[in-house]
Symmetry: C2
Subunit: 608 residues, 2 copies
Amino acid sequence: MSTQNTQLNPAQIQAEAAADGQSALQVTQSLKSHSLAFIEDAGAGIRVPVTEISLEPSPNGRPNKPFRTYRTAGPGSDPVRGLQPFRSEWIAARADTEPYTGRQRNLLDDGRSAVRRGAASAEWQGGQPVPRRAVDGHTVTQMHYARQGIITQEMRFVALRENCDVELVRSELAAGRAIIPSNINHPESEPMIIGKAFLVKINANIGNSAVTSSIAEEVDKLQWATQWGADTVMDLSTGDDIHTTREWIIRNSPVPIGTVPIYQALEKVNGEANALTWEIFRDTVIEQCEQGVDYMTIHAGVLLRYVPLTANRVTGIVSRGGSIMAGWCLAHHRENFLYTHFDELCEIFAKYDVAFSLGDGLRPGSTADANDAAQFAELDTLAELTQRAWEYDVQVMVEGPGHVPFHLVRENVERQQELCKGAPFYTLGPLVTDVAPGYDHITSAIGATEIARYGTAMLCYVTPKEHLGLPNKDDVKTGVITYKIAAHAADLAKGHPGAHERDDALSKARFEFRWRDQFALSLDPVTAEAFHDETLPAEPAKTAHFCSMCGPKFCSMRISQDIRDEFGSAEAQAALAGVASGMREKSEEFLAAGGKVYLPEPRVPAES
Amino acid sequence: MSTQNTQLNPAQIQAEAAADGQSALQVTQSLKSHSLAFIEDAGAGIRVPVTEISLEPSPNGRPNKPFRTYRTAGPGSDPVRGLQPFRSEWIAARADTEPYTGRQRNLLDDGRSAVRRGAASAEWQGGQPVPRRAVDGHTVTQMHYARQGIITQEMRFVALRENCDVELVRSELAAGRAIIPSNINHPESEPMIIGKAFLVKINANIGNSAVTSSIAEEVDKLQWATQWGADTVMDLSTGDDIHTTREWIIRNSPVPIGTVPIYQALEKVNGEANALTWEIFRDTVIEQCEQGVDYMTIHAGVLLRYVPLTANRVTGIVSRGGSIMAGWCLAHHRENFLYTHFDELCEIFAKYDVAFSLGDGLRPGSTADANDAAQFAELDTLAELTQRAWEYDVQVMVEGPGHVPFHLVRENVERQQELCKGAPFYTLGPLVTDVAPGYDHITSAIGATEIARYGTAMLCYVTPKEHLGLPNKDDVKTGVITYKIAAHAADLAKGHPGAHERDDALSKARFEFRWRDQFALSLDPVTAEAFHDETLPAEPAKTAHFCSMCGPKFCSMRISQDIRDEFGSAEAQAALAGVASGMREKSEEFLAAGGKVYLPEPRVPAES
């Protein structure tokens, strides 16, 4: 395994900068200390991109070695052309898939406005990949390979990325405790793993609605979200151009893409839940499998008999997918077709390696409704469906709430882990109070940290606009950074190997007044630097040995440095350890040896 | 006990609006549904201000009664004149205090620039209260009265405010498990209680430094902070005009004011920690007692022998007070004078009812240093000092960290509660990771919720500028709202009586598409409304039965309403309960009775 460094491709940066004044890549460029580097396994032909942060030397002149960190931004792409399909070779080499003539383009996939116009508002002009599927009789999921004892390139990539043994990756996949969402039709994506033995991941939702936004904006949000650290992105579009927006997103996405296919199916029937059929849904799923969606939220646990359990809730059913299916069940007086056709879905997903994200359509929409009969009844069914998917070697994660008061959060993940035999839990927050619309990234990050600490594998972000409107670009960034905080805090709390290294590096930089390093090591260097500059804008202040809180005359950090100079040596510490354990003689030795180092006086209570 | 409503005084609003384009009172006025109301105990002559939020009727026409909530903003004041000293009568009536000629004004109290100019930059022109102190032989602390079995007006006020029995207030005070910070020289303040049996409180820090800000700005921050819900405010000024800034703040503050007197003492000796003496410190404490400071942070636990324990920390000593005292100890090779003179401090505090906030000068400044020997050694000493203060009937709270990874947070409060026999814990966050400067209001709110859940009584806010600069007005608001979230989430998690009522009222409003009520009930109505208006700005959208997330055509809340209409009745629920428990007959009865109400089909697993 070797490593290699490279600066970002200037042509890419220029293209981006021209397209968007506030582009993700430009911001990275402004952080001169950040560069794209690679960890390579040359033997296997794998290189994993990481962000390398160069650091200044300490005040004592000692160099600080560059800090390398997990990178989700990918190599960067020109949105019009998309990313290189670098996984295609791996997929082809397994010789268990075949190209085929996919489903025909149907303008209704993009909604009625596309039908009227004869095109989507901005057709995808990049490469037109030919869809692949498993050869008959084959299953092409990472779970399947893992269970056969096969180590795939995807698993090797993930092991390098997580800095762990590849056998851990394989065994967790085989047991269903982790997934690598990796549709064979999304060969542009960099393999990543979701499971509680690995780093906690975060998802960012994007997508248009009937009321707002354009395709270009959504691609921009994708790049922006992955730039700041989103591990997966869900395209939750519900407006026009759903198919084409998704095409642009997938072709440009270095991270797995998730969807909720019932949203598009609903658009195809003019928004009338009653008009939905299994056939329309199935066709939509195939459409999305062929495009390369990596995981799909399927609300198959909203059973007819559970619907009345929500009637006296404070906030009923708040999941859109859940209420669509509840509405359908009510209208037809029949069982949820996602449940009755679940095995067919498993057969389809097994052909493309699409992972289930089993939707919690009955999740609580208020703290009053948390952990109630409806929610837990659905969870029982999700556990049953997990087992069924595993019979097909299809990868599964299970979605969780929602709104849950802090003391009830832990029960959610422990119950899910037990019932679903360790299948990765993927939760939306949860929000620990309902009283702060406008700040629900915060109310939910509190619950997210708690639930991830006890085993949630991926956290779905919540932005400040939750409950109020669709997130703009600033909201996406705030949501992502806030969830990076929750995920990282949980990694620290779990004692995940190496998680503390970034904290320690930043704290050391802070203590040594290496301001630029403090910014560079932070989750959002741009904001850290801007906040600093508000009160001490001059460039020299970035190397000043004080800050605006105390001013130049008094500085606690400086006093601490004096203490370290005096007591920090190994000899001084050894002697002090002697004092601490009451060994008077040792302390006298130390005193005798001491020069300017002194010992504390014994405390005389009468003196006080 | 009766209640009474009043609109805000228009003269006050005008004065404010003229002084500041973005004043606190203006914002309140813009929320037409918010008004100042009072809960009265006419017999005792007490009225407690509350904020009353009027609500619209539900869509079914049923009225929603106004929601009343705890209010920290006070009655509002003209900053130039200050607030009415409404507690003066109560204090005088106890006949255990006397007015006296206080300490002479010394221009150095305001720093060298005031000495040069012959005045502070903006002298206090309002009333010049004559200081009071206990008559010789008397102790005038709320703890003293409580231990004597006396119910004071302050206790009655607090019981009304917390909606609890006054005997709970008295007994918690007597046991030292709660404090009412209430210097007899701050008669403008509305009594509030800090203790784990009561609502979790939050503190906001304000104050200038050598680098920034003016007196007017600090008074504005005070009003702004209490407007948004700060329960106490600490004036941490370290620059010019310290005495006079504090005078303006106290005379205008409806909440208790805390300080760290060592900061001012240090200014008096030109910033040279070595030059500090007990006499200068004592004089500063008396100055502040006479002005009306309600609680003071005293770093008496930083013992000489603990200092070396910090030498090999990642971030040494980060508390300013802690490092000042450590610096002094090192310079003189003597024990901390705050420790050796602690009993004298107790005698002084007992004469004015100033509460100790025992500072944690050795708190960890990075997650790496959390729960270490230095921190816990100091806590042992703080426990000892708590007992000593209680011997003088002086009220005490104990300060806590700082930076602590999430899984180590709980140990902090449990250890403090055990060692300090339930004395209120008052913590700064803690921050659960070091990697997010610019977002430390969030990293710390996560830790704050956890630590408050297990018994921390008051949370000191952290603003987005922590580690980077001094907070401006926006930062103060963000810090306060974020900490209201943490405190309230902890109240919910503790099952504090009534805490869930606001969540339930807001969730009900949300479910019923009463947008204006959702805004009005939120912790920050201004931001909630602004975010909503970004995507759906038109006034009709505030009553629209949909939102920008799903658009007008599909709405999960509407489907839920349909479910409720169908299944929500008591009869339907009773029948469904029968089904749920397998009582087939009952369900058939229900079917027979049913009209359009249907029963779910029994699930047939073979059907799937």
